[in-house]
Subunit: 421 residues, 2 copies
């Protein structure tokens, strides 16, 4: 094995993690923090409350990493084993720290409770380890260098306590030791209407950069490119990102819709607000999902009038003015009905734009000519009415078909607002 | 090192995990599933998109575990490396599988898109590996026994795809191979309208059983009790669960609403279908979220007519017949307007029931007398009209206030349908 690298490893201790009873949100928090501090981080390990297996995980970790960050296993109960197992592994005796004992007793007293004998265990740390104070809970952690070139930090598993200890003590300690001189800063670019593989090919020459790096992700119809730069300051990292971001946006063209926290709903909202225009929706298969998405944006009442959920055909006729002969002849899932729904809701709600969705979300209700996944989206504007046909594979399932329909409707309006055609 | 044990190890591949950009929810899902199947699971590893480090993680894992479950790194882009790295590690060549290529091409064609050359990579599997089909996405996984006593499963990182593949193919495969002889079988009981602590106190004597165990969970307004039994067959486990479930349902009374996959929307749907009655909704602050929730249920068209999203006050007047003087005098967020919305939508959509929501979801728009979190829910039935007032703390935030409003509206109708009063 080669020398351990100047990198960190997160080791989460707890059988509850291996039973899937809790999500390992501590590992995510620490990963984010290490990235922000620019501390390389190549492995995470989860291990149960078992001394032999904890020791094996430690043996592996200290061969490949120089900073081991433990969460969990610091409590008062017999299955909390992190501290004593570490001491045992490195062959160092535990010593009782009176200041910890006092602190725990005081915290119990403040809550009107008696400290129990089992809490005594929490005052034991390996000889030579420093206390990592826990201002909001009973179990402190430790900062320990059991041998040259190896640093161990331990934290309780309770996320709020761990985070506070990290911020107050661990970050200053790590920086004082020369860890984290560089920061990693990331920006996410968001695309709709293009496949991950197509975008990756178009952007291929940029996917192999060293700093910033560009990595594609995809899910639920959206493709994202994450641009990450390493530099000594956030401003320097931003400068590295800017030209690459610019090129990627050019490559994406109209398929690029936003960055970071943007969503199709927020972007469409901004465009409508800028144009001082309003929107109304008519929804069949999405059942209100499009309106719900639009109104996730605080302040959407500035441009969103509301809509009609015309799940039943009679509602399409009575509330939206869809022609009942067209309904009978062409069916509810048709270009003509989508257009009429859009026009109807635009006019009845006095909105600039009417956006409609009618489709077959499944799992039942499909036919040979109109299969599950067939969706028409209508858009009626100040000067025009149009509709598009989407065919989502039935394999995507009801929820995803409905989600894709709502997002694609927003995307249709977005493109219209951007191009005016 | 001792022999690897008859246990599973979850290996999550993805630099986005090491940067903390996503939560490792896949590892939690797999942990739960392994527990349900009774397959021991002692370690989890997270490693980035780096072939050398993936190989090191594999080397460690196959010394201590006999079943390695990989998620991530199966996509079409250059940083998706799981399959080729595994083939490389075990010194087995990759071969192109025409059936995968055909399946991907067909999925692209159905969406009217061209498969790109980079997708070709997803058709490569090590010689001797079986395809683990991906019914909902493009990248399949594999089931591979690269040497006696070692089984490898690979899954894409997209949670919905991974879960479907796990359920459809991995579970039957593992069981056929003799994994999971003792099963843990769980049933979740669902409650609405009661605090976790209140329910836990009422059910206190049952929270300390050994087999089955009863564990309370709470989140997003719902309280759940998970009853888990260990036995050699599902039938034996069910028999252990039944009497405890019965007692817990008795304790919950009307606050108990369903089990396992039930939701308030599905339970209300069943009650409406049984009564051959119909429902229409009028939504203000939820913006379509109530309708969307109702229509998550396949077949909801049997009882759901649709509704009106009356985000703008003029829509409340024009489409629902709310009295404009009442609107001006009492405000949109008032008992009177909630009732009129419910009556209006019931009558205009010819439904048995009209259910309405009007409130202040925030973060802005609150006043001293009508703070953020104030919501009125109206219910108009065949013989009566009523409304309830809810005050959700502003600290809950816009998304949760909207979610709680929609669920509480469904719960109001559920109680009405159950009791008739």
């Amino acid at each position: 094995m080669s020398e351990p690298s100047q990198s960190a490893e997160v080791i989460s201790v707890g059988t509850e993690l291996l039973l899937g009873e809790i999500l390992n949100s501590n590992a995510q928090f620490l990963a984010q923090q290490l990235a922000l501090l620019g501390i390389p981080h190549y492995y995470q390990t989860v291990v149960g409350d078992n001394p032999l297996r904890i020791q094996r995980a430690v043996a592996i970790a200290c061969e490949r990493s120089r900073l081991l960050i433990f969460t969990g296993g610091l409590g008062p109960t017999p299955d909390d084993l992190t501290t004593e197992t570490l001491a045992d592994f490195f062959g160092v005796p535990l010593t009782e720290r009176p200041e910890i004992l006092e602190d725990i007793a005081e915290k119990f007293a403040r809550r009107g409770r008696q400290m129990s004998p089992s809490n005594r265990k929490q005052a034991l740390l390996p000889q030579g380890a420093m206390i990592l104070p826990n201002p909001t809970g009973s179990a402190p952690g430790m900062i320990w260098q059991p041998r040259p070139g190896l640093t161990i930090l331990t934290f309780p598993g309770v996320p709020s306590e761990m985070k506070e200890m990290w911020r107050q003590t661990a970050i200053p300690f790590l920086q004082s030791q020369g860890w984290g001189q560089e920061i990693i800063y990331s920006r996410t670019l968001r695309f709709w209407g293009i496949a991950e593989s197509t975008l990756a090919e178009k952007a291929n020459s940029l996917l192999h950069l060293a700093n910033p790096t560009v990595a594609p992700y995809a899910g639920n119809g959206e493709v994202r490119l994450r641009v990450s730069a390493k530099a000594s300051t956030a401003a320097a990292a931003s400068e590295l990102i800017a030209p690459v971001q610019h090129q990627l946006q050019e490559i994406g063209g109209l398929d690029f819709y936003g960055t970071d926290e943007d969503s199709l709903a927020s972007v469409v909202g901004e465009l409508l607000e800028d144009a001082q225009q309003t929107l109304a929706v008519a929804e069949s298969c999405t059942g209100g999902g499009l309106g719900h998405l639009i109104t996730t944006i605080a302040g959407s009442s500035a441009y969103f009038k509301g809509g009609v959920i015309s799940y039943d055909n009679q509602v399409k006729v009575n509330l939206l003015g869809v022609n009942s002969e067209d309904l009978a002849q062409q069916g509810a899932v048709s270009e003509s009905v989508a257009s009429q729904m859009a026009v109807g809701v635009r006019d009845r709600l006095n909105a600039t734009w009417g956006l409609s969705i009618t489709g077959i979300a499944g799992p039942d209700g499909g036919t040979e000519t109109k299969p599950v996944g067939l969706v028409y989206i209508g858009l009626a504007g100040p000067n025009s009415v149009e509709s598009i046909r989407q065919l989502y594979g039935v394999f995507r399932g009801r929820d995803l078909i409905r989600w894709l329909s709502a997002c694609t409707a927003l995307d249709l309006l977005r493109r219209k607002l951007l191009t005016g055609c």
